[in-house]
Every structure is written in C-alpha cells, then in structure tokens.
C-alpha cells in the first residue's frame, strides 16, 4: 500500500522529535513536577519545570509512549521554554483546539507543533498528542494561581 496517509500523521519533523527528543530528562532544580498518564493506553509523562517570575525558565520531560506522545512532549518543552506561564497556558489551549480540528489563529508562530495538526484526522491518537500539554496546563496552571 502507499504510505501517503501515514505520512500525513508521521511527518518527518515528528519522527525527528521522536528519535531525537529535545529536553529529555529531569530538571534537578525544578519547582514544578507533574506526573500524568493516559489510562486507556499506558502512556506516561514525568514533566519537570523551573518557573520563576511567572516565566517557564526551563522544562524537561521523561516518559514512555508512542511516537506521537513523545514527539509532542519534546515539541512542547521546546516551545514553552522562556514563555510566560499565561502564554504557556494559551499554547496548551491552542493545541487542544488544533487537535479538535478547529482553525487556529495563524498569526501565532506554532513552530514545530504545526506538524502535529495531522493528528486531528486520527481520532484514536489525539489523546497521545495531548498528554504532554495537559501536564503542562496542570503545572503552569497551578503555578500561576500560587
């Protein structure tokens, strides 16, 4: 069979993040730690953040899961580093909209995460992509309330 439809999902930038994950590991000087799992499939993420003055100074993740979930985590950490916590939350919402197939504000620079837009066409895999973002939202959401 042709791999055309698969290529819509597994774009090369996704495979690159999967095979060479950015920000993999645990931050020793973290002040926010989030553990999340996807109970339907067994994917797990351990996200550590260093948040100071309302800014995500650093982010690292560890976890186990499929290419989509791990690539998404890698892209997420790359994107939020240096962002204000409220902007990070905004990105999480925007990502969620993207997974629902909604049009997203194209003035926002999505960077690599744009490559994940194809996941919206694979309903069974949306949860894989959103795990890291849910962890982020929980982490910085709590932080901005604190």
């Amino acid at each position: 069979m042709s791999t055309n439809k698969l290529d819509q999902l597994y774009r090369s930038v996704i495979m690159d993040h999967y095979k060479n994950p950015r920000n993999k590991g645990v931050l020793s000087d973290n002040n926010v730690t989030i553990d999340m799992n996807n109970p339907t499939c067994g994917d797990v993420i351990h996200l550590t953040l260093q948040v100071e003055d309302g800014v995500v100074q650093d982010a690292k993740f560890e976890g186990e899961g499929c290419s989509i979930s791990m690539a998404s985590a890698s892209m997420m950490t790359q994107l939020v580093k240096g962002k204000k916590t409220e902007d990070a939350v905004q990105y999480a919402h925007l990502f969620s909209d993207m997974m629902l197939g909604k049009d997203v504000d194209d003035s926002v620079d999505l960077g690599d995460i744009e490559a994940l837009s194809g996941v919206a066409k694979f309903p069974a895999r949306i949860k894989c992509a959103t795990l890291a973002w849910k962890a982020l939202e929980k982490g910085v959401g709590n932080e901005s309330e604190a």
């Binding site: 791999t3 439809k5 597994y10 339907t40 067994g42 994917d43 797990v44 895999r125 894989c128």
Partner: protein, 406 residues
C-alpha cells in the same frame, strides 16, 4: 481449519477499511456477530417485545419463553446442573463484582485471604482489592512462570487454610495461556476455599463444563462469543447461590414486599432485579446455537492452528517478541507481541491504514504489564472467522511498519 465460508455469516467483515478489505484481529476485545444473532435481536424487537414474568398477555408469554429458553441454552452450554444456577447479568465484570459483594462480603473476614494471579484482567483484580480493603483481608498473587503459565506448586504455596476465595481467569486475554482450572479448584477446595473462574476469554473458544471443572462460580460475557453487548452469565453452585443475598433490589426479584421488610424470589430471579436484559439474553441464545452448530471443538482447533501459524511467521520478523507460552497448544488464539523500535500504538495505526484491526495498550491488565516489564503491547486475537490470509496480511503489515519506522 474451518472453511472460509464461515466469514459469510458475518456481514461486518465484508467491507473495506482505509481502502483494504477488513482483517479483524481484535476478537478478544469483542467478537463480531453472525447474521443469526442480528436477526434474533431484530425479530425479538419487531415481533415479540414485551416485559417478562408478569404480563398475562401473549407477547409477555413469548418474551418470557424466549428469555427462559436462552437460560436453558446457557445452562447446556456450560453443562450446569440446573437453570437455577444461570443468572443473566451485564457481563463478566458485573458477575465477578456480584460474587465479591455478595459471597465475598458475607464470607471473608479480617486476616482471611483472597488469592488471584498476576495475569488477571482488571475486572478480576479490583473487585477483590475493594473487598480486601473493606474487610481487612489479604489479597495474594500467584506468581507466574517465565513463559507466562501457572505452576500448581506455586498455587499450593499460595493457597492456605486462611484462603476463602481463589479467583483465576481460565484463558489469559494477554498471554493466551489456558490455566489448569480443574486442578486449581481441587487445591482451593482442599483448603476450604471457593473457586471463582473468570471465563470471559474461555467461553468463546473452548467447551466449558462447570461440573467437570468443579468451580463454584464462573463468569462470562456474551459479546466475546458472537452475542450482543450488555449480556453475560454468572454461574454459581445452587447451594452457594441459595445462601447469598442479592446486591440489587427492586422489581422482578421480590417475592413479598412489606413496608419494612421483603422477601426474595427463588433462584435465579432473586439476582435479576429490574427488567432483565431480555433481548440480550435472546441474542446470547442465538450465539450459543451458532457456536454449537459450528462446534466448539472445531473452533478451538481452528484457533490453535491460526495462532500457531501466526507465531511461526511472526517470529521470522527480526526484533519481534511474542509474550506467553511458545507452545501453541498451551494457548488460545491470542498473540500478544512487541516489535522493536515501533511503539504498539504506532504499530496499530500502521496496521489500521492497511485495514487490519489489532489492539494496542495495556489490555486492562496493568499488573501483568508490570510483570512483563513493558508499558504496552500489541495484540492480535483470532476467532472462527479468521483465515490464513489474515495471518499473511498481518505479517505483511508488520513488515511494513518495521520498514516505515526504521
């Protein structure tokens, strides 16, 4: 092997998925339904629908007859002594929860033991965890052998005279292992314990005989054996069921209702509170007729052959690990595996793009996944409608996935 013609009974199989003829290898999650079962449901709703056990009118009689005939079919299917021992429920999960909440609560006390195994499905773990927590009882696990089988020596080591309940799955939904239930039941009984069997993966595939197994309770679901969803059976020995209290109260299950006290109907109805699952039971009866027509022994042999073939061809793929017993005779038609470098979800997506349906994840057996030291696996499960061509398509799909992710 069974004839390919069997496929024609299953209308759903005649379709394309993502441009390829459907290969359905997820029957351990739920089986497909033959036309006979679909027709039985339609006929019931189109011609006989009515409530049971109460109406004086003709439709009520027809519905009652259909419902109670299905009970007789289920009795015969597992060779129970009496239809009083056949209780219709939503499925194996509800049946196991009923045993835990009714028999368990009345018979398990502080310091008593409940024994299960590492390979259990969540539905045969959590009801016992809850019971153990409530009663201060001890939940013990029988460890597995390296090939994912149970050794009777370890069963003997784990079961003691403090054990009140031993509950084991007949066939593993992950490893495919067929467990020696009859022998385990002997050990349980010798220690004064009851034997509970989760038969969810056994009922579709092997001839069940509760008298030969001498189990005290057996649970199974209709939807895994060509029947509809939402119907299953709790079998229990009459003398035990008679002692047990219902856990659901309301219509249908009562004898006399007073202002402050009530009495229950006799077996099996005292456990069937509310309007029963009439259409479901009739559909299950049709599924049992179908399976008996084909022959459970033939189905079992067919699955052994397909699983054996799949294991043989799959092990030629480099980096592919198959979990569970390597001797196909020790397992049912379930092949759980991982392919190095390809996560099971990715694998399932690639296969789906090729029209092949497999399951990926933890298969509702997280303790077993821990024991296997994996976070997830892929599973291909075979049933009577699968063919050698399906095995070829699977292997071809796996090779493609491997290449794609390289």
């Amino acid at each position: 092997m069974l004839s390919k013609e069997i496929r024609n009974y299953f209308p759903i199989l005649d379709q394309e998925i993502n441009g390829h003829p459907l290969v359905y290898l997820d029957s351990a999650a739920t089986s497909q339904k033959p036309q006979q079962v679909i027709d039985a449901l339609t006929k019931y709703y189109a011609e006989d629908n009515s409530n049971v056990h109460r109406g004086v009118h003709s439709l009520g009689n027809r519905a009652t007859e259909g419902y109670e005939n299905a009970r007789e079919k289920a009795r015969e299917f597992i060779n129970a002594k009496s239809t009083q021992e056949i209780i219709f429920m939503r499925g194996a999960t509800t049946a196991l929860n009923t045993v835990a909440q009714s028999y368990g609560r009345a018979n398990v006390g502080e310091g008593d033991e409940i024994v299960i195994t590492y390979m259990e499905h969540h539905s045969n773990i959590i009801p016992w965890q809850q019971l153990a927590k409530e009663k201060g009882a001890v939940l013990k696990y029988i460890d597995l052998e390296e090939d994912g089988t149970l050794s009777l020596d370890k069963v003997r080591e784990t079961v003691t005279d403090r054990t009140k309940i031993v509950s084991v799955m007949y066939v593993s939904n992950v490893l495919g292992t067929m467990n020696p239930i009859q022998e385990i039941a002997e050990i349980a009984h010798a220690n004064g314990s009851v034997m509970v069997v989760d038969g969810a993966q056994a009922a579709p595939h092997l001839k069940l005989d509760v008298q030969k197994l001498d189990c005290d309770f057996l649970a199974f679901s209709g939807h895994k054996m060509c029947g509809p969803t939402g119907i299953g059976v709790l079998y229990g020995k009459k003398e035990l069921l008679n002692q047990m209290e219902p856990i659901e109260f309301g219509g249908e299950m009562i004898d006399f209702v007073g202002l402050y006290d009530s009495t229950w109907k006799e077996l099996p109805w005292k456990f069937e509170g509310g309007t029963p699952i009439i259409a479901g039971a009739i559909g299950l009866g049709a599924a049992i007729d179908f399976l008996r027509e084909v022959g459970l022994d033939k189905i079992e042999r067919h699955e052994h052959e397909l699983a054996g073939l799949a294991m043989e061809r799959m092990s030629e793929i480099e980096g592919l690990t198959i979990y569970g017993p390597h001797d196909p005779k020790k397992r049912a038609g379930i092949v759980t595996f991982n392919l190095e470098g390809v996560h099971p979800h990715d694998l399932a997506t690639v296969l789906d793009m090729n029209g092949i349906a497999v399951r990926a994840g933890h298969h509702c057996a997280q303790p077993l996944m821990k024991w296997l030291d994996v976070s997830a696996t892929a599973r291909a499960s075979f049933y009577l409608y699968n063919t050698e061509d399906d095995v070829d398509r699977l292997v071809e799909g796996l090779r493609m996935a491997k290449e794609y992710f390289q």
